[in-house]
């Protein structure tokens, strides 16, 4: 800043001496600053502008890869999805039916059956079943790992270990659980040998148990990831705050709820939104666990599994309509969350 001012000074004095003198005489500081700004602007118009444009050009060059990838892999599919959703277009065996323009017939069909809300409900239930324990354990582990006074041993090792489940493929993970919880699987035989059950419990034909299993798997797979994110946020908090609080006689619980949580809010918001979007797109775990049926009685069928059902006949129309709807739902939910938690801060900041 200082350097910039100095270098600008001579320019001002050379070209606008008269103006400057006048302004000094009038002794109005606002005018001085105005004159200075004009001077800078004028000088930039002379030689500097070209340089700025030249420099900015590089910015656009660096943006090209993103834009190209975005257009090819995001924008075009997005537009064509919306386009397809207004057409009847599927394969019947080896025969292609359509594309015929049908207006909003596909959307009508989705809403008339009303099933989409059931699948939406299923998705949200299973997401919440996984998210609640996930956020609880992540906060707990994150605050332990980032607490300087605890001095946990081998923290690096445990950080790696809790992240490991995320590296397993979801399909492999659900195959494993499918075998574990089969009627004659190890879980049933352990429970029976311990005398808790008298005959095997069919985990896969009970809505509550299937949903809980899906939630549990998502929890195990994603809590490591969330822990790392929250820990990063917690490590960014100024340790001085904690020290000051300690000196004032603050307990650990108070420290967590009064210092860590409020400062962590933006990170929590990020975790919530990404997890929600991920949750709405839940597919692989329930798909493999229930063999694509969403049994019992489709109580574990998620929106994307429903979408996948339409792809057997390459039904682009219905699948497109469902995707558009999913896009809108995701948008609305994200907006709601932003309004509830994030936006308040932004509004406050503006007001200040």
């Amino acid at each position: 800043m200082c350097r910039g001012n100095r270098s600008q000074q001579p320019v001002i004095s050379e070209e606008n001496i008269k103006e400057k003198e006048e302004s000094v005489l009038s002794n109005q500081s606002s005018e001085v600053s105005q004159a200075r700004m004009e001077a800078t602007y004028n000088s930039a118009n002379g030689r500097g502008n070209k340089n700025v444009v030249k420099y900015n050009r590089w910015g656009y060059f660096f943006l090209i890869p993103f834009i190209v990838v975005y257009i090819i892999f995001q924008l075009i599919p997005l537009v064509s999805t919306v386009y397809n959703s207004f057409y009847e277009n599927y394969m019947s065996g080896l025969k292609q039916i359509g594309p015929n323009f049908v207006g909003i017939e596909n959307y009508k069909q989705l809403f008339v059956s009303g099933d989409i809300w059931i699948y939406f409900k299923n998705t949200m239930i299973m997401w919440i079943l996984g998210f609640l324990p996930q956020i609880f354990f992540s906060l707990l582990l994150g605050s332990w790992f980032s607490d300087n006074r605890l001095k946990l041993r081998a923290a690096g090792f445990f950080k790696t270990v809790i992240y490991l489940p995320n590296l397993i493929m979801a399909s492999a993970f659900s195959m494993l659980f499918f075998t574990l919880f089969a009627d004659s699987g190890p879980v049933n035989s352990i429970l029976m040998q311990m005398g808790i059950l008298s005959e095997p419990f069919s985990f896969m034909s009970n809505a509550t148990s299937v949903r809980s299993l899906v939630g549990f798997m998502n929890f195990i797979m994603w809590f490591g990831n969330t822990t790392i994110l929250l820990m990063a946020g917690m490590l960014g908090i100024d340790p001085g705050l904690f020290e000051a609080a300690e000196i004032d006689g603050c307990t650990s619980t108070q420290k967590f709820f009064l210092i860590t949580l409020p400062i962590l809010k933006p990170i929590l918001l990020f975790v919530l939104v990404t997890s929600l979007i991920g949750g709405l797109q839940m597919f692989d775990v329930p798909q493999i666990l229930t063999n694509g049926t969403g049994d019992p009685m489709r109580s574990s069928m998620t929106l994307i599994m429903y979408l996948n059902k339409h792809l057997f006949s390459k039904n682009y129309g219905m699948a497109g309509a469902l995707s558009v709807l999913l896009f809108i739902i995701t948008g609305i939910l994200s907006l709601i969350i932003f309004n509830f938690s994030g936006n308040k801060e932004a509004i406050n900041r503006k007001a200040r």
């Binding site: 599927y90 394969m91 019947s92 065996g93 080896l94 025969k95 039916i97 059956s113 099933d115 081998a154 690096g156 090792f157 790696t160 490991l164 590296l167 075998t179 089969a182 009627d183 004659s184 699987g185 069919s202 034909s205 009970n206 809505a207 063999n291 049926t293 049994d295 019992p296 009685m297 489709r298 429903y306 059902k309 339409h310 057997f312 006949s313 039904n315 219905m318």
Partner: protein
């Protein structure tokens, strides 16, 4: 430094466990295949993979005496191939689409003049054979085949599909289109196929009555029963006596109650009997654009519901671990063809019923079939003469077909050859020294498959899935489960409605 060591250690563990997984998978490839298989012919894949072992295991007098015959057959076939006129063929590449190694091993072992080059390439004379193998899991095989068949007209000469394989469940989807050539166009006459079982021809006959594919195997099924349980509960383990207890569905269900009283399940799952009912329907699944539930299918639902409620069977999936429990006892009966009992029912594993030779075979309540592979010629092939010759040699040449029976334990699609085999004194160790061939032959003659539709695969799958909910009590009534079936069908086939 410590962290580096720890992370290096973790990485090594991960990589090691991944590699260990690969190795394990390779070793248990056959097991895994049968575990995940959801379709019958997957199991036929096992047949192929284990064929070599099994052939030696079940080798008996019949095999030995037939060796000489096989040799002469080979010579005769060689002579035939020399005379083969390929002048009509312009293609230098023969593209074959299939989903497992079974057909490849049949061609390698039995087609005169086939030389293997590597895992996906072979040679017949000057023609290169290219194998396009896509597993059928998750519909992948059909998706791939559809894509290439639809692009057949624009494909380069060497890329065109010449020959592809289909399964019974979806055969009509391909057969009833112009993408499949009539076998008559490939030089196969009615006289050539006269010895084949009628049901194998029904499956690949299009709506105009034109035969468009051939198969070298027949898969008629019978009922396998546990001899120990039969002796204990029914008082006799002899097939003739047991058949009296299962001669029709009413008697079968009465027997089920008796068996439960002794503490055994009559079948492993409800899906065991599904095929037996669904092969004996009197109307098609789909008529016009309406899905229609046949009386015999409805009867399966009613009978099965009673069995499940009485805990005489379960609702596990076919090929699941729960289904396989009965291979080691406690389940009275399984329904299936020869390959099921020979290769899939834990023969050779200690303590299994098959190892002890304690299964018995009877015709059961109704005749049915399970599995099988059909050869179809693709429209647009540039090697019609060669495709025709492969069909003729593998499915019409009685000597080669006998050879297949002896080497691979298949049930060949040739009445004369099978009749000769039946009289040769063949006995099965797994079936306690019984000769099952007359039963298979009787079954194969009785199967009537005039009521097929191109939607059978989806309808059968979705119907079983939906009804599982009814059997488990998750759907309160049959109507609720039917509602579920309707949903699934309209998703799969948007053009259909369910009555």
């Amino acid at each position: 430094m410590k962290k580096k060591i720890v992370s290096a250690f973790l990485c090594t563990t991960m990589v090691a466990s991944m590699l260990a997984g690969c190795q394990g998978a390779a070793q248990q490839a056959t097991d895994a295949a049968s575990d995940t298989a959801s379709q019958a012919t997957e199991a036929v894949a096992d047949t192929a993979q284990q064929a070599a072992d099994a052939a030696t295991q079940t080798a008996d007098a019949a095999t030995q005496t037939a060796d000489a015959a096989a040799d002469t057959a080979q010579q005769a076939a060689d002579a035939a191939s020399e005379a083969l006129d390929l002048s009509a063929d312009t293609g230098k590449v023969l593209n074959i689409y299939c989903w497992n190694e079974e057909f490849k091993s049949r061609l390698t072992d039995h087609y005169p003049g086939y030389e293997e080059v590597d895992a996906t390439h072979g040679k017949i004379g000057d023609v290169d054979v290219v194998w396009n193998i896509t597993p059928s899991d998750d519909n992948a095989y059909q998706n791939n085949l559809d894509e290439h068949l639809l692009a057949q007209a624009d494909a380069a000469e060497d890329e065109k599909i010449d020959l592809f394989l289909v399964e019974a469940d979806y055969a009509l989807k391909y057969v009833d289109t112009d993408y499949t050539l009539p076998v008559a166009d490939l030089g196969i006459t009615d006289a050539d196929t006269a010895d084949q079982y009628q049901y194998t021809k029904d499956i690949v006959t299009d709506s105009n009555g034109v035969l468009k594919g051939v198969s070298w195997q027949g898969c008629p099924g019978i009922m396998f029963y546990n001899r120990d349980i039969a002796a204990e509960v029914l008082g006799s383990e002899e097939p003739d006596d047991v058949q009296e207890f299962v001669k029709d569905w009413a008697t079968f269900n009465e027997t089920a109650t008796k068996i439960k009283e002794a503490g055994y399940n009559v079948t492993s799952t409800t899906n065991d009997t599904y095929r037996v009912y669904s092969n004996n329907v009197s109307s098609k699944w789909v008529d016009g654009n309406t899905v229609h539930i046949d009386e015999n299918i409805k009867k399966w639902v009613d009978d099965s519901k009673v069995l499940v409620d009485a805990k005489e069977t379960t609702t596990a999936e076919l090929w699941s671990d729960d289904w396989k429990k009965g291979f080691y006892g406690d389940v009275f009966a399984y329904f299936g063809p020869a390959w099921l009992v020979n290769f899939c029912m834990a023969d050779g594993e200690e303590g299994s019923v098959a190892t002890n030779g304690r299964w018995g075979g009877v015709v059961g309540p109704q005749s049915f079939f399970w599995g099988g592979t059909w050869i179809c010629g693709a429209n647009g092939t540039d090697n019609p003469a060669l495709v025709g010759d492969i069909m003729r040699q593998l499915t019409c040449n009685a000597d080669i077909m006998k050879d297949i029976v002896e080497k691979d334990d298949d049930f060949a699609n040739n009445k004369t050859a099978m009749a000769q085999m039946a009289e040769s004194g063949y006995t099965s160790r797994i079936l306690g020294g019984q000769n099952p061939l007359p039963m298979y032959m009787e079954g194969a003659e009785k199967i009537d498959l005039s009521n097929l539709s191109e939607y059978d695969q989806g309808c059968n799958e979705e119907f079983q899935n939906a009804m599982k909910n009814y059997f488990d009590g998750n759907a309160a009534t049959y109507e609720d489960a039917l509602e579920l079936f309707k949903k699934a069908i309209t998703e799969k086939y948007p053009e259909l409605t369910v009555e």
